[in-house]
């Protein structure tokens, strides 16, 4: 353990000096990358909703993330146990982290170097070095870990176990799981309020968002969703995101085919927006004026105008889109 920690410290030191030497990343491409889980492709969209490319990638691509400077992006490929790393501008494959068992989602540590991955098949969360691909640490979770969220200070990691109805809290500094928090049925994804005080967790089968107080690690409230005309069991929230000012949250309601718009301070539901079938992945553009929704069972992406809270258009992509990534900052 001690040697691993020493290694980390060294790594962080290297990263900081490394980060200082690279120039600010070149102009963003403005493109939207969609991971299509079922036909192993990435669809590339322009901000004018035009599909410019369907590029092949590894098997069953799901979670995606930019590197700290956005010059690279990572794609988790569940069926061939790897994380593929692409150059953002050229979309050329740069390298792979292999032997990552069935990765689903992941988060990048604020140090830009550590990638924390949930290994769905292995009931574990693992930490990899994005530069070397080295496995730095591994933590036991419940069955089918899914959502991963690192706090802004880089101290804590939250991992949701879908099958065990638990949120695990990992203390990275002390290298241990410090709490297992029981939540509602089938926890999937997280959002942290920008002040880092509240952790929102979607519980897919319960149709709720559980709110956890980060300080005490206790459940303090929940929000239940029910768009008009739906039965509670049809409402299966998955992705949840928040605006940078912490005022508004968006929740993809899965089989209820809607996105819920939530006023974060009052925790009240402002509106339900009709989207495609089984909405999962949500991404906001940098200016937060548009929301991209990946509809897994209608093979398309719905683009929402966040001022009028209405869908602008829906664009067909590949088979079973899982989520999107937007290069616009």
């Amino acid at each position: 353990m001690a040697s691993r920690k020493r290694l980390l410290v060294t790594l962080i030191a290297i990263v900081s000096s490394f980060a200082a030497t690279i120039a600010v990343s070149s102009e963003p491409t403005g493109l939207i990358i969609v991971a299509n889980e079922r036909n192993d492709t990435l669809s590339i969209l322009t901000s004018e909703h035009e599909v410019v490319e369907h590029m092949e990638t590894c098997s069953r691509p799901r979670g995606m993330h930019f590197s700290a400077d956005r010059s690279e992006f990572f794609v988790a490929c569940a069926d061939d146990d790897q994380i593929a790393i692409y150059d953002t501008k050229s979309r050329k494959l740069l390298r792979r982290i292999r032997g990552v068992p069935a990765p689903e989602t992941f988060d990048l540590h604020p140090d830009g170097r550590r990638l924390i991955v949930s290994n769905e098949e292995d009931a574990a969360a693992s930490v990899y070095d994005v530069e070397t691909g080295e496995l730095l640490a591994e933590y036991e979770t419940g069955e089918e870990p899914e959502g991963v969220q690192v706090t802004a200070d880089g101290r804590l990691v939250f991992v949701a176990s879908e099958a065990a109805n638990l949120v695990h809290v990992i203390d990275l500094e002390n290298d241990e799981v410090i709490a297992d928090i029981l939540v509602d049925t089938r926890p999937r994804r997280f959002a942290l309020t920008p002040d880092q005080k509240e952790l929102w967790v979607s519980a897919e089968l319960a149709g709720t968002i559980n709110i956890i107080d980060v300080q005490t690690l206790k459940l303090t409230d929940d929000i239940t969703f029910l768009p008009t005309g739906f039965r509670p069991e049809q409402v299966t929230p998955v992705d949840v995101i928040m605006t940078k000012d912490g005022q508004r949250g968006y929740v993809a309601l899965g089989r209820a085919n809607h996105v819920a718009v939530v006023d974060v301070p009052s925790r009240s539901i402002e509106k339900y927006i009709l989207v495609g079938k089984r909405a999962w992945g949500l991404t906001l553009t940098g200016d937060e004026k548009r929301l991209y929704v990946a509809n897994g069972l209608s093979d398309d992406v719905t683009i929402i105008d966040t001022e009028s809270l209405a869908a602008i258009t829906t664009v067909p992509v590949g088979l079973v889109p899982y989520g999107t990534l937007i290069d616009d900052l």
């Binding site: 065990a164 928090i181 709720t208």
Partner: protein
């Protein structure tokens, strides 16, 4: 679920003595050499429908309970009791009750099952993971008995909904002469009536090459007389049914024992987390997960969900939680699982599948129910013959 607030977020104390932990014990009861699991060899030594003991399902359900136990301050144990044939199953069940087991998974033949159900095992949850017959969900129901395998009526109702949905209302029903096939044919007729389908003809087939009895054995003759949309076969043995597809007088689809079948589970289900469950099972057991494997897995999952809800190993609390209409068991079939108060049957979607694909899931959109759409499948509260 705010009422759970105070139980949440138990801090993990890895060094705490394990001896202090309360144990939640689930007993799996079976009989060694049970003829039900002997190879079902048909003519020429072919094995068409082998049955395998679904204990692997229960084992898979237990996987990961260490971490759940870590959160709850409990420990979980699966006590596998496969008894030698000369030993009494009742004595084993009574011992489990005395030793404080929470649940008993019954993998027993009908006679032994009846023996257990006729005795008083109060406070012990009994799970039927093997039998589809309606009887134990009806007239001969028992208060502490829960069924995770769907009943025969749920399965035939699911297929009937599919035929209604496809607008194939006219059925030619072919069934064997065994008691099981006749009972199933009755269930098919009842489901057809429930969903407004028309059984144009109900014909009994026989396994014979006797030319004088060809009206009962010749597939072209049996399927050429009537005007129908679909053939529904009740043939548990399968020896007749497997020759019917592609051999009928009219080009019509086949459902029931052949063609499109109704199942609790299927190894090709692609949604609701099912691929993960199927992959985990396959990796562990080197075979595909059967409906019975799933039912035994679901029984363990239901106990775990109830223990989580109860927040302790207290048996009374667990019994109350498992019977609660608010229980949510994650069935990996897209809808919330809970037990029907009137007969202990697990509410669940039914998978309609061909040999290599799930074609659809029942309940179908459009079949509504005042309480839970899943209650459109199987015997509903007003019709139940079960008096608890």
């Amino acid at each position: 679920m705010i009422f759970r607030l105070f139980v949440l977020a138990s801090l993990v104390l890895f060094n705490e003595s394990l001896a202090a932990q309360e144990e939640v014990r689930i007993v799996y009861l079976g009989i060694d050499g049970d003829t039900y699991y002997e190879p079902q060899v048909s003519y020429t030594g072919l094995s068409l429908k082998d049955r395998l003991r679904p204990i692997d399902g229960a084992r898979l359900g237990m996987k990961g309970t260490r971490v759940l136990g870590r959160a709850l301050g409990l420990s979980f144990e699966l006590d596998e009791q496969i008894l030698p044939p000369e030993e009494s199953v009742l004595a084993a069940a009574q011992k489990a009750q005395k030793d404080g087991a929470v649940a008993l998974l019954l993998d027993l033949p009908e006679t032994e099952m009846q023996e257990i159900l006729s005795s008083d095992l109060e406070g012990l949850l009994l799970f039927n993971i093997r039998h589809r017959k309606n009887l134990w969900r009806g007239k001969e129901c028992v208060a502490n008995l829960l069924h995770t395998l769907p009943s025969q009526s749920m399965l035939t109702d699911a297929l009937a909904q599919h035929l209604r949905f496809q607008n194939w209302p006219k059925i030619l029903l072919l069934h064997g002469d065994t008691e099981a096939d006749v009972t199933e044919a009755d269930a098919i007729v009842a489901s057809a009536q429930k969903f407004g389908l028309d059984v144009v003809a109900r014909e009994e087939f026989q396994l014979t090459n006797d030319p004088r009895r060809r009206d009962f054995s010749n597939i072209r003759l049996m399927t050429g007389k009537h005007d129908y949309d679909v053939i529904w076969i009740a043939d548990e043995n399968g020896e007749f049914g497997r020759y019917v597809p592609f051999a009928t007088a009219k080009p019509r689809p086949i459902v029931g024992s052949e063609g499109l079948t109704a199942n609790a589970w299927h190894w090709t289900l692609e949604r609701y987390g099912a691929p993960q469950l199927n992959q985990r099972f396959r990796r562990k057991s080197k075979r595909n997960m059967s409906s019975e494997d799933w039912a035994s897995w679901a029984a363990v999952k239901a106990v775990l969900a109830a223990v989580t809800e109860a927040g302790s190993g207290n048996k009374e609390d667990i019994l109350r939680a498992i019977r609660s209409p608010d229980l949510i068991v994650d069935l990996y079939k897209g809808l919330r699982g809970s037990f029907r108060s009137w007969n202990g049957q697990l509410r669940q979607p039914i998978l309609l599948a061909s040999h290599n694909a799930v074609i659809s899931l029942a309940p179908f959109d459009g079949f509504e129910h005042q309480r839970d759409q899943q209650d459109t499948l199987g015997v509903d509260e007003p019709e139940t013959l079960c008096v608890l």
